[in-house]
Symmetry: C2
DNA sequence: TGGTTTTGTTAGAGCGCTCTATTGGTTAGA
DNA sequence: TCTAACCAATAGAGCGCTCTAACAAAACCA
């Protein structure tokens, strides 16, 4: 009844002003927390606003102020909980710095991702974070001309006007290989992530570490999925019939889980006969049922740094691009052990001696 | 150079109009695909727009038109891939009907969820979908006065002005119990979802089915997490030392996986000694490594129906609330089997009393 | 006391767009 | 030939807000 000339519809600043007996401009000042408002009027305005259920219209606000408090987030794959933790980090900073997050997803398809990005841009956000983008560098570059952009978990790029926050995939893969080598493995195969973001970097790290240890690298093309991991292993088993690897460095955790399934289907036990290392330390890996040895990226931290990079750019505190490379760490769980036939220097955890028969003739 | 009075900044409709030698209104018509524009001018405008890299400003548009093409989506937990599939369904409809999705998350905390909801509302969306909300009914009701709202995967509510799309959790839990009974189980314990959405409904279904079969129900308070499932089982094992159940109906897949881990830690084998049924058929359950028997909700379909409900309301095609209750189905995988010491009559898969829902899935 | 600051408040223009009239310019009908 | 009917195009108001400039009223200083 008191919604004045605006029954039913959402109350506007005008309505609040009328009810509080002040001007629209004063309401605006109160809403933005200006110090130059008398206490008396401030409380009157706040009360009127509360009574009407008024909430400022962000779009109108950003239109009028020519600024935005919106940070756009493009999540390349909502199904992958990996990104959820990055969002956690972004969200924490956004909350602290008074930005709003709007999320959008590209479903791992470049076309949809472009759509999602355009949709985000049409809100004229103050900045945009692309998590695991698969869209072309050219398009990212184009967008970067209009708004600060930070890439997270992205494949390497030559773009000069974007910030980047990645984990050091090369170091991570090296970590995995070093771990396996230290357990006594020397036939270590990498299932790579195909064209996925970070796949190339991890592959490079694997190759580098293998060379460093004087071992012969074998890379199998795969993908960031359960099914692809299983498929790659099945092919591996079919081809390299006699000469099986004793350890696998998988593209990521999903890939690793698929690989483990295929290994077990083939009667190979993990880790007794084959060790498997994942990548990402997703909640999947942590499930005690899987208990996957994996490489952990500081995801929340990555999100936090990404948001901070954006905020700095938005506030004009920095204009050169930054390229953060965070250090991953190895999380050793139960899918890695000493290889069969290669008893380690010291006392092992689980190294069944009777294993030799199996390893001798898997044929 | 030709950006006229607007160098550097994003071109506006005015810029396009100037360049094409027409009025701003005409550009507006072209942008909205009006048929009442001569072909000649249309191409001229489109060319000018292309040359300037013009993209309409959705905020300004929705401000001026007093309409919105934005659908807000509040996802209660981004880490749970369950919701990602609902978003897929929403997204499909949104794309088809020319709406934009903006997503936001509440991280399973009522306070954050309220924040997220308010943030969403401040964009004055045309409609809002709340996926697995934990915020209070009162607040939802308040929001529903301002914008059409659809609840998905929500706990039951008395709210009269919102649409609801749920799976029939009662039927789902019954499906699980019936399946276990048909395998010969009669000591079936339910690990419930505590205060989680749908937890009560599932518990009710479990109780109903147990009673129907003349069995004594046992409900253990738990939660929708891996850890909670494991904890509940550990407590169960500690207390009911002598008289263990032969089957568990878990609150959801995560809970089930935790339960399985705890069982295996205790030396109990699944499914040989204890059968476990999950709920949700998440990607987790499908991993061949877990191969969890579970209840599947048609999630994408739920998302689709939710979006359609919103669109109908937005278009004014309907004003009464709808309450959709979708039928779940059982996916039998490898975590359920006949109970020990109780060899079944024959080898059943289905259960006698022709229940409405089907038994689908693998294996 | 008069002038200068300071403080609190407001009018009014305008952000980029849509939308309702309204305007000329054709064409059709009689 | 005139009017009605249509068509393409446009002027101008206004969506809900911010922001600059201007303005009273109170406070300060000499």
């Amino acid at each position: 009844m008191d919604r004045a000339a605006n029954p039913g519809a959402r109350p506007t600043m005008e309505d609040v002003a009328r009810r509080a007996g002040v001007s629209r401009a004063l309401v605006s000042l109160v809403m933005r927390g200006s110090p130059k408002v008398s206490e008396q009027r401030r409380t009157a305005v706040l009360r009127a606003a509360r009574e009407l259920g008024y909430r400022p219209h962000v779009m109108a606000r950003s239109l009028a102020s020519r600024t935005s408090t919106v940070l756009g987030v493009m999540v390349s794959d909502l199904h992958n909980p990996f990104f959820a933790e990055i969002v956690d980090g972004l969200d924490a900073v956004a909350r602290a710095e008074d930005f709003e997050l709007i999320i959008n997803t590209g479903s791992r398809s470049p076309a949809r991702e472009r759509r999602a990005l355009n949709s985000l841009l049409s809100f004229r956000p103050a900045g945009v974070a692309l998590l695991g983008p698969v869209v072309s560098a050219a398009e990212i570059g184009l967008a970067a001309q209009q708004v600060p952009i930070v890439l997270v978990a992205a494949r390497p790029t030559r773009l000069s006007n974007v910030d980047i926050v990645n984990d050091d995939g090369e170091a991570g893969a090296e970590l995995a290989v070093d771990h396996l080598v230290s357990l006594g493995h020397n036939k270590i195969v990498h299932l790579d992530g195909g064209g996925g973001s970070q796949a190339g970097t991890r592959r490079r790290g694997y190759l580098k570490a293998m060379r460093r240890h004087g071992l012969e690298p074998v890379v199998l093309r795969s993908e960031y999925t359960d099914a692809a991991g299983a498929k790659a292993v099945r092919e591996l088993l079919a081809e390299h019939d006699g000469d099986l690897p004793t350890a696998l460095v998988a593209a990521n955790d999903y890939n690793a889980v698929g690989a483990i399934s295929a290994l077990e289907e083939a009667g190979l036990r993990v880790p007794e006969e084959v060790s498997v290392v994942g990548y990402d330390n997703t909640s999947l890996a942590a499930l005690r049922h899987l208990s996957l040895t994996t490489v952990d990226q500081p995801r929340t931290e990555m999100g936090r740094l990404a948001a901070e990079a954006l905020v700095q750019r938005i506030r004009g505190q920095r204009s050169e691009p930054v390229h953060q490379l965070l250090h991953p760490s190895l999380v050793v769980r139960s899918t890695t052990a000493h290889p069969p036939l290669h008893p380690p220097p010291q006392s092992p955890t689980r190294q069944p001696a009777g294993k030799s028969a199996t390893a001798g003739g898997t044929s």
